[in-house]
Each structure stands twice: as structure tokens, then as C-alpha cells.
């Protein structure tokens, strides 16, 4: 019924359909980062400290005897300050805020940095209770980053606090 020309035309068009699908199913290829680049991923999820205040003896005296705790701790958690330095130069600095309506949840960060592969002095400092000055967690090390390597900077009290992985 169909003319030969129509059949050839149909075959060409279905071929074009297949070629279109086949091509865009894998091509053009995509490279997210250049060849000589490594990634540093800074990510943590940590509960900040409580900003407790010592009650004065007068305050304590005013409280019923069963509630005379020496410290007054609000429900909210402290912000967390975080500094990342590469070869002594600051690369990233942030203050993470606790989540949750009453600010009693974890503070989180997730950041991805692209750096040229090579050897660096990497340091990360954290203060998880801003009632105190300075940094109560510090981790510093020389790291050698191979191309495409992903170095994770994370925090886990079970792994001794800040760590590189």
C-alpha cells in the first residue's frame, strides 16, 4: 500500500529519531571540574553548646530549694563559628546558626571548594559555644590532594572532633 519512497522516508525518520535519542543519552560529555582540580568538602552537623550562666547566690536563694541549679541554661544552642584556612590564608569563615524554632537544633554547613591539586597546609578551627572566646576545636595538617580527590572536613566527637577524610 505505502509507496517505496514513503517507506524509505519513514526508515530515515525513525533512524533520525533513534540517532537523536542515542546521541543525547550520553553526549556531549560533561565535566563538572577541570582535570587538575581536587575538591574540599566542608560539611558538618553539630549541636552547639549551651550558653549557660552561673547564678549568683542571691538568685539561687530566690528559687525554690528543689530548683536551685547553679547554672541557668537557656533552651537555645550557641551559634558555631568555623574558620577554614589554606596555607595560612583564610578560605572560608562562617557562623552557623542552630536550626529549629527554639534554636535548639543542630547547626549545619555544607560547602564545596575547588582547589588545584597539590600539597597544602589545611587548618580548620571551630568554636561551638560563643560564650567562650577563641576556638575549642582545631585541626591542622599537611594534605596532598591528588586530582579529582575529594577531601572531607567533618566533625564527629567519636572520631576526636574535627577530622579530615
Amino acid at each position: 500500500m505505502a509507496k517505496p519512497a514513503a517507506i524509505v522516508g519513514q526508515i530515515i525518520l525513525y533512524g533520525a529519531f533513534a540517532a537523536f535519542l542515542g546521541y543525547f543519552a550520553t553526549s556531549p560529555t560533561y565535566k563538572q571540574i577541570p582535570d587538575d582540580v581536587a575538591l574540599i568538602k566542608l560539611s558538618m552537623s553539630h549541636l552547639g553548646g549551651r550558653e549557660c550562666r552561673k547564678r549568683s547566690p542571691e538568685e539561687l536563694a530566690k528559687l525554690p530549694p528543689n530548683m536551685r541549679a547553679p547554672l541557668e541554661c537557656p533552651r537555645g544552642r550557641s551559634d558555631i563559628k568555623l574558620v577554614l584556612e589554606l596555607d595560612g590564608k583564610p578560605m572560608f569563615e562562617t557562623v552557623m546558626h542552630p536550626t529549629g524554632l527554639s534554636k535548639d537544633g543542630v547547626s549545619t554547613v555544607y560547602k564545596r571548594f575547588e582547589v588545584k591539586a597539590g600539597t597544602y597546609q589545611l587548618s580548620v578551627k571551630m568554636n561551638d559555644n560563643l560564650i567562650n572566646p577563641g576556638f575549642n576545636f582545631v585541626k591542622e595538617a599537611q594534605v596532598t590532594l591528588k586530582p579529582a580527590q575529594v577531601l572531607v572536613v567533618d566533625f564527629n566527637p567519636d572520631k576526636g572532633g574535627l577530622f579530615f577524610q
Binding site: 519513514q10 525518520l13 529519531f17 543525547f24 580527590q149 567533618d154
Partner: protein, 527 residues
């Protein structure tokens, strides 16, 4: 004219031209552009069938997913590998036809009024398709999966929904566990189930849904997928390793284009685009449009409950109820929310015959904007006009449709032209009436196969004229005095040429059948 209207108009012309030129190769029934929704459903069945097989061999542990899928492509390439490739290419093709289907419905302005429901139920399907498609790529757990998982979670984390960044789930090799893949498979099966449910709703208000494309189209597309499966089988990338950033990736642009797009713009821009486009699509039908067509009206006295209008309505707008006046009979009821105002029901009603003697022709179901009585009066006036032509003139009556090639412009001394809401509105008895009232030939024209604005108008017309569907043309009408011409809106010239050819044929062929016996309705002014 607004920018949107201009864009839409150009898109419509472009699509019409492409469809018409593909008709030349495929014919309407086999023209894929005219059956995009049906192609989508067909691809979905391929996805379900191949997906079931893939599921049975999948090992959902962290190490197992990669090896169990890789096994299919390497050791079992002749079965599992091919099914895997079919699964991949059918999903890419699904995205392609879905987008074309959307573009087509938009270009033809089929998104408001009685189609609002189809349109609005279509939009969320796009999200479901992308969620299951992107998730599907993660299950392979190769470098591409790793890249997509991280890029997607980074994108999600831009939204203020999660207390912990979801990208932390893919931080280091020990972050992923077996449970992840159980969840992924659950999503990858659950979301398509929602999609199927959504599609059921999508076509719920349409009767005689174009559920599957023609056998030829099904075979040809399946053959295309099979050829791809053999020439370019779907393969995994290297296994995922979260300690390494993936190098060059063979990206599936149908689904994963979103990641490069995020990289060159920003998460904020991508979300703005996705939510913006979704809102725009939802809002489109609510923009000001021409007033909706008046809907069909049933006249109880002239409805005998034959159910033909119920059978022919393309939008399931007619239901049958107990007749209030005629015992043991039914009556047609029109649902105003569903009625498209196409008039196809008026063309199907046995009471729509112009041979009835009433001065005012009242039929069972009629269109207020163009009642059959007006059609009859129009035809009678035209026949009277043609009757004043010198004898020997070949007098034609052309019935056409407001949505197809314009027929009004064809009116001439020897040609009467009557344009209907839809050609499907033409009761076949009008053809007989015109021939018996003095016309030498009748042309019935409407949109091409698969192009009818009201989906089924031309199909019913063709079947009625060919004695295959009630109400059919009586057999005393010779088929060689009748010509059915398919012409879309942009094909007025082709239509004129076809009419000229028909006229020449009537004039030159000696073997042409006689006209049926003359008939003239007794009207009061004829005495």
C-alpha cells in the same frame, strides 16, 4: 496581539506544517506527531515491562547494585542488557514525546475551557517523570549516579526544607548504606505508579482515548530502541567512589540537563525556573481567552433515547437518563462542564434530518450557536441560489469546519459553502438533501486524520458517509458524487485544488451515477 499569542501562532503554523509533511510519508494514522500522547503511554508500558525484569535481578546492597546491573550488560547482554537499554531509551523517548505533546497542545491552544482539566492534570506529570527518571540513574550507583545524587542533593539543600543538608548523605564512601538503595528502588517504583494514576486522571474526561499508537508506529519505535540497544547499549560508568570526583561524564541530557544548568547558573536560578515554569503552565488556562462555546442542548420531545450522541461525544459529556416524557425511553443529558461545544452530537442525532416537514427543524440535541434548523435554512437558500445558474453548470455544495481549511472563501456562483462548528456536526442526511435539492456534487472537508480539534469529528464523519456508523448516509446516494477531503487550517489551496479536480471529474466522466431523485420540502411559501 500579545507576545504569547504571536509565539503560539507561529508554533502552531510550524507544527501544522511538520505534521502535514509527515502525513505525506506516514499517513495520518501512522504519523507519530499526531499520536504523541498515545506514544507516551506506549513507552510507559515498555518501561513498566522492562523495569519489572530489571527489578527481579537487582541486588539492592551497596556493592550489589553496581555488579548486578553490570552483569546484565556484560554476561547477559542478549536479554538483560537489551532490556536495560530498552528501559533507558524508552524513558528518554518518553521525555521527548511528553515535551512535544505539551508543546503541541499549547501551540494549538488546547489548554483552556473544557480542556483545562486535561491540561492541569498534565502539568504535575512532568515532575513525576523527572523524579523517577533522575532517581533511576542513581540506582546504578556508578560515577554518573554519584554525580547526579550529589548535584541533586546540593540543589535540594538550597531549599529551606531540610534541617541537615541532604548532600551529607553522599559525603564519603561510608556515608551510603544498603538502606539507601531500598529507598531509591521504592521511589523508583512508587513514583511511576503515581504517574500511572495521574495519567488515568489525565485522560479521564476523554472518551475513546488514543491509548496506543498504530501497530506500525509501535513496531517502528520498538525497532528503533532495539537498534539502539544493539549499536549503543546502555552501560554503567565506573563504580561510584565518593572519595573521588567523577571525571568526564556521559550525561543523559533528557533527564540530567538540570545539573549542568545548575552549574552554569545557580540553584536559585534553577528553582526559580522550575517553579516559575510550573506556575506559568498552571496559570496559562486562566489567562483571558475567548468566551467558551455554548454547549449542546437536549430537546426532550425530539430525543428518543437512541444513545448515538452518547456514543459519539468525544468528551464523555453526554450521559443517558430515564426519559421524563416517554415511558421506557431514555434521554440524553449534557454535562456543561465537559461539553466542548463541538456539535458532533447534533450530527449523530437521528432527529437531525432535514427531510422532516416541520417548519422549524428541532432535533434531539442541538447547538444554540448553529442549530440544525439554521443549517437547513442556509442550505435551502444556497440551493435556491445554485438553482438559478444556467443549466449545465456543475453545482457543488461544500461542507467544512471552522477549525479546518476555510471553506467560506470558496463560495462562488456555482459553489455553495457551509462552515460548521466541526465537520462531525454534519448529519449525513444533509448530503442526500443537498443532492436531491439540485447539487451535482458534495464535498465534505475537515481536518486531517489525527488533527481534528475535537478529536473524533472526521473519524465519525468518514464512517457515517461510508455506511459504517449510525446515522449513515443512505445507499441511494452515489459515492461518486461525494468527495471527502482532508485539509488542515493552512491548506486552503490544496482544498481548492481538490474541489477543482472533483468538478472536472463530474464534468468529464461519462460513467458518473445519476443524482438521486429530486426532492423538495413542501414549505408554506411554496404554497
Amino acid at each position: 496581539m500579545s507576545l504569547h499569542a504571536a509565539l503560539r501562532g507561529n508554533a502552531q503554523i510550524l507544527l501544522e506544517r511538520s505534521e502535514n509533511s509527515l502525513d505525506a510519508l506516514f499517513g495520518g494514522a501512522d504519523n507519530p506527531l499526531r499520536h504523541l500522547g498515545a506514544l507516551g503511554l506506549y513507552f510507559l508500558w515498555i518501561l513498566v515491562a522492562t523495569g519489572l525484569y530489571l527489578y527481579t535481578v537487582l541486588d539492592t546492597s551497596v556493592e550489589g547494585v553496581y555488579t548486578s546491573i553490570g552483569y546484565l550488560s556484560r554476561e547477559q547482554w542478549y536479554l538483560g542488557g537489551i532490556l536495560r537499554s530498552l528501559h533507558r531509551y524508552a524513558s528518554d523517548a518518553f521525555v521527548l514525546v511528553m515535551m512535544l505533546h505539551l508543546a503541541r497542545e499549547w501551540a494549538y491552544g488546547r489548554y483552556h475551557g473544557f480542556r483545562l482539566y486535561s491540561w492541569v492534570t498534565g502539568v504535575p506529570l512532568i515532575w513525576l517523570v523527572y523524579i523517577s527518571g533522575i532517581g533511576g540513574y542513581w540506582i546504578v550507583w556508578d560515577r554518573l549516579a554519584q554525580f547526579s545524587a550529589i548535584a541533586t542533593t546540593e540543589l535540594l539543600d538550597w531549599l529551606p526544607f531540610f534541617t541537615e543538608p541532604t548532600a551529607r548523605n553522599f559525603l564519603a564512601p561510608d556515608s551510603v548504606n544498603d538502606r539507601l538503595f531500598t529507598v531509591l528502588v521504592f521511589i523508583h517504583i512508587g513514583v511511576p505508579l503515581m504517574l500511572i494514576l495521574g495519567l488515568w486522571a489525565h485522560v479521564n474526561r476523554i472518551s475513546r482515548v488514543d491509548y496506543l499508537p498504530s501497530r506500525r508506529v509501535m513496531l517502528a519505535t520498538l525497532a528503533s530502541f532495539l537498534a539502539l540497544a544493539l549499536i549503543k547499549p546502555a552501560l554503567s560508568d565506573a563504580p561510584a567512589n565518593l572519595a573521588l570526583a567523577p571525571a568526564e561524564l556521559r550525561l543523559d541530557w533528557f533527564f540530567l540537563f538540570i545539573h549542568p544548568l545548575t552549574d552554569v547558573t545557580s540553584p536559585a536560578a534553577v528553582w526559580a525556573l522550575l517553579f516559575g515554569a510550573t506556575i506559568l503552565l498552571f496559570a496559562l488556562p486562566f489567562l483571558p481567552h475567548l468566551k467558551a462555546q455554548p454547549i449542546a442542548v437536549v430537546d426532550a420531545a425530539n430525543c428518543n433515547g437512541c444513545s448515538r450522541c452518547h456514543a459519539d461525544c468525544p468528551y464523555e459529556a453526554v450521559t443517558m437518563a430515564v426519559h421524563p416524557g416517554k415511558r421506557g425511553h431514555k434521554i440524553a443529558i449534557v454535562d456543561p462542564d465537559l461539553c466542548a461545544g463541538c456539535g458532533i452530537c447534533a450530527g449523530s442525532c437521528p432527529s437531525s434530518t432535514p427531510f422532516r416537514s416541520q417548519e422549524k427543524l428541532v432535533t434531539g440535541i442541538d447547538m444554540p450557536q448553529q442549530p440544525v434548523d439554521v443549517m437547513r435554512r442556509q442550505l435551502e437558500t444556497q440551493l435556491a441560489r445554485l438553482g438559478t445558474q444556467p443549466s449545465g453548470t456543475t453545482k457543488l455544495v461544500v461542507f467544512g469546519c471552522d477549525k479546518g481549511a476555510d471553506v467560506r472563501g470558496l463560495a462562488a456562483a456555482d459553489t455553495a459553502a457551509i462552515s460548521l462548528l466541526c465537520t462531525g456536526m454534519l448529519p449525513p442526511s444533509f448530503v442526500e438533501y443537498a443532492l436531491r435539492g439540485g447539487a451535482d456534487g458534495i464535498v465534505v472537508t475537515g481536518c486531517r486524520d489525527g488533527g481534528c480539534d475535537f478529536r473524533l469529528g472526521m473519524q465519525w464523519t468518514q464512517e457515517r458517509l461510508a455506511h459504517q456508523r449510525e446515522p449513515h448516509l443512505r445507499s441511494l446516494v452515489p459515492q461518486d458524487r461525494l468527495r471527502l477531503v482532508y485539509a488542515s487550517r493552512s491548506e486552503s489551496r490544496q482544498l481548492a485544488a481538490a474541489i477543482d479536480e472533483f468538478r472536472t471529474q463530474l464534468e468529464t466522466q461519462t460513467a458518473i451515477s445519476n443524482r438521486p431523485p429530486a426532492y423538495s420540502r413542501r414549505t408554506p411559501h411554496h404554497g
